[in-house]
Amino acid sequence: MRTLFAALACWLLVVPAALAVQPDEILADPALEERARDLSKELRCVVCQNEAIDTSNAGMARDMRVLLRERLVAGDSDDDVRDFFVARYGDYVLMNPPIKASTYVLWFGPAVVLLLAAAFVWRAARRRKATVTPAAALSSEEQARLDRLLSDRDGT
């Protein structure tokens, strides 16, 4: 379910253009174009809501796609291109947030949650085991009675 609001925001903010990547943007070199497409999935359209420039209809996204391809044609590596956009728009432009002090909680949070939860389950299981006293072994009298009951049932 695409967010309606995101879609709307992009449609309303800009003159309704066509959809996402246009034929005239596509680079002649297929290898370069593939890199461009992969990169444009990682870069956010900065006027849209959570939408990569690869799929955005906004004019801004188109400008960014064209700019991205210009950088690639000029010989930039993928990292150069990312750095170029981060220098312009900040980390905000990356769909994949960089791992640094301010995102440690984000990136390592899931693993910490899993470990904490697992530790909690383990502890609860141990505690429960400790509170339950193992049943005492059957006395010989009980064992004999059990055997009798079992053989009775087999007989019926």
Partner: protein
């Protein structure tokens, strides 16, 4: 006049909710049967008032009464009748009214069918439903009143957003809301149990079907929304890890965990405290989902502050509901005792693992969705958390879950033999390896992870089937014996098998669609042909057509394979003059194994400089399995709901014990 009746009925519903929220509860605390008995009529009255209110608003939409602000802002006299009706909930105010209507419906259902519940529990549950009703009715009446009038009335309305004028999206909100609100039942039962300080198997037996109903609808709602995005937005995507999607996905994940942990409470009286907590959290996430979308909180913290009246109201409701129930939980939970001990390797152990992973997955989505807000509120810097984050964190949590999902149902309660269970999965393992090898041969590119993941999907599918085969002794006993066993297997067992198979189908769809999608964007002219994904695609012609409230340009595009015509697809580009908005209507041909998806763009120029039309072609392998699989999962839920135990529904403490002296096999 009719509009005023609706408005008045809404006020009366609030009054009924106030009675419902107080009298039965006080009665239950003081053990007064007559006070408790007030619950039933007040819950029914609240529902009747809301039904009247909703009918009145619908009437205003159908007759296009533009003196009502809400109708004026969201409807138009030329709109098709279907979208006039669905326009009622296509906006904030109307959707809140739908929300409280569904809430009151659930309350009324407890009142009507809760006769076999202990009187105190029933009264408390109805009261808690009443509190939620009070909060939402007050919010609707004081900040989002759909019955407000405007003078002088305009000649015509502003029309509904064209993107919403679509059958898929018309029914997406009601299904989603039945899902969200359905979890209020689990919440009310949990809070009532905390007030009483007692949970038993009968409690779980009541909570589970309600949770299942909510889960089935939420599954449908999410799938419908995803399907809509797929065919309406024009580039063949179906899931975006967008915050608005995530907030509906979180209650689904946690609700799925709740569904499984309630089984343990019902069968083994273990995990009680955890299940109560899950019920509270699941509904809390549903509330968050309802509000977060409407409040603008997700755009930015600042957007939230621009409409402080609603925003503050929302915050207060969330704080009281979530904070209050968690505080109650903190006070009461330590006094509750869980029974049922079990070894780590057991059915219970498997379900604990399920809960552990689903809860972690929920936490991951929660972090990814709300972290940008925390950061922005903290130091004003802005951050984007997009699909790459979720691919990197969510997928590794789900893969072990899928792997374990085939094993869990084969484990015995209390203490199980893991090696034995794995041994019984040899066909599943074989199928997994076979599919893995086949994928390795046929998939020429795409991420490597997709290949073992396809094997895992096959493992789950065949694993779920072998659990059933195991139980009916397929091929190991005479056929008559198998048939007898199959007939006697409870429907809930069938429900589980079907739902797990559905999950495997959905998983294959997800992998196929994300790993091997093909795309071609080009300018085509009349009569031009290209070869795409093994098909010959010819652009036949372009025609202008007139719809009921739009004009469209429609292309005819022929798709052939080996010289044989497969389909003529007619993608459209529509323009809705009232809202001045264009939309794309993609054309899709499905073979059930894959889709050919064509969307039309603007006029463009070919490389040679000649005029033509921008055409986007997508080859979407296995995408139909997403919708089929979701449907299969829903069917699994419905089959489980039809289980005799639930239909008869009597929350007897336990199935009648066998006469003493005879051992009851652990099941």
């Amino acid at each position: 006049m009719i509009v005023e009746i609706g408005h008045f009925a809404l006020v009366l519903a609030l009054v009924a909710a106030c009675v419902q929220g107080s009298v039965p509860l006080v009665g239950a605390q003081r053990n007064r049967a007559d006070w408790m008995a007030i619950g039933t009529p007040s819950a029914l009255l609240q529902f009747i008032f809301l039904a009247v209110s909703f009918a009145c608003l619908t009437y205003a939409y159908v007759v296009s009464d533009f003196s009502v602000v809400n109708v004026m802002a969201n409807s138009h006299s030329q709109k098709p009748l279907l979208y006039k009706v669905t326009g009622v909930w296509g906006n904030h105010e109307g959707s809140m009214l739908l929300w409280v209507l569904i809430l009151a419906l659930f309350g009324a259902l407890v009142a009507l069918f809760g006769g076999n519940l202990p009187a105190g529990l029933k009264a408390r549950v109805i009261s808690v439903q009443g509190w939620i009703g009070i909060a939402f009715l007050a919010f609707t009446l004081f900040t989002s009143n759909p019955f407000e009038r405007i003078f002088p009335p305009p000649l015509d309305g502003n029309d509904l957003n064209p993107l919403l004028q679509d059958p898929g999206l018309a029914f997406h909100p009601p299904m989603l809301y039945v899902g969200y609100v359905g979890f209020s039942m689990a919440f009310s039962f949990a809070v009532a149990a905390l007030i009483e300080g007692r949970i038993d198997a009968a409690w779980a037996r009541w909570v589970r079907p309600w949770t299942l109903v909510a889960w089935v609808f939420l599954t449908g709602g999410i799938a419908l929304g995803s399907w809509w995005a797929y065919y309406e937005l024009g580039w063949g995507g179906w899931w975006f890890w967008d915050p608005v999607e995530n907030v509906s996905f979180m209650p689904w994940l946690l609700g799925t965990a709740l569904l499984h942990s309630a089984i343990v409470v019902e069968k083994r009286e273990a995990l009680k405290i955890w299940t109560v907590l899950l019920a509270i959290l699941t509904f809390s996430l549903s509330l968050l989902g309802t509000f977060i979308v409407r409040s603008g909180l997700l755009t930015s913290v600042h957007a939230f502050a621009t409409d402080p009246e609603r925003g503050v109201f929302i915050l207060i409701i969330l704080l009281i509901t979530i904070g209050g129930s968690l505080a109650l939980f903190a006070i009461r939970a330590p006094q509750m005792r869980s029974g049922g001990i079990f070894a780590p390797i057991s059915r219970e152990g498997g379900l604990v693992l399920n809960n552990l992973l689903l809860a972690t997955a929920t936490a991951t989505v929660f972090l990814g969705t709300l972290y940008p807000l925390f950061v922005e509120a903290l130091d004003g810097s802005r951050l984007t958390v997009g699909p790459p984050f979720f691919d990197a964190t969510f997928v590794p949590i789900m893969l072990p879950l899928i792997a374990a999902c085939a094993v869990g149902p084969l484990l015995a309660w209390k203490r199980a033999d893991l090696a034995g269970a794995l041994g019984r999965l040899k066909f599943a393992a074989g199928a997994g390896i076979l599919v893995l090898l086949a994928t390795l041969m046929f998939a020429d590119d795409g991420p490597w992870l997709a290949i073992p993941a396809m094997g895992l999907a096959a493992w789950l599918f065949v694993g779920a089937a072998s659990e059933w085969a195991e139980r009916v002794k397929l091929f190991r006993a005479p056929f008559a014996e198998t048939r007898r066993r199959a007939a006697h297997l409870p429907r809930s067992a069938y429900g589980m098998t079907i739902a797990h198979m559905g999950l495997a189908i959905v998983m294959a769809g997800i992998i196929g669609a994300s790993a091997w999608k093909q795309e071609e964007i080009l300018v085509m002219q009349n009569g031009e042909s290209i070869v795409f994904a093994g098909y010959d695609v010819t652009f036949l012609e372009m025609r202008r057509i007139q719809g009921p409230n739009y004009v469209a340009e429609r292309a005819s595009i022929r798709v052939e394979q080996d010289g044989e015509q497969i389909a003529v697809l007619t993608p459209e580009k529509r323009f809705y003059p009232v809202q001045g908005m264009p939309t794309t209507e993609a054309a899709i041909h499905t073979t059930w194994l894959s889709d050919i998806y064509i969307a039309l763009g603007d006029e463009g120029e070919t490389n040679a400089g000649e005029a033509g039309w921008v055409v986007r072609l997508y080859y979407e392998p296995l995408v139909p399995w997403l919708w089929v699989g979701s449907l299969v999962m829903m069917i699994g839920g419905v089959v489980s709901l039809s289980d005799r135990r639930l239909r008869v529904g009597a929350p007897q403490p336990k199935p009648a014990k066998a006469p003493s002296g005879q051992a009851v096999p652990a099941e």
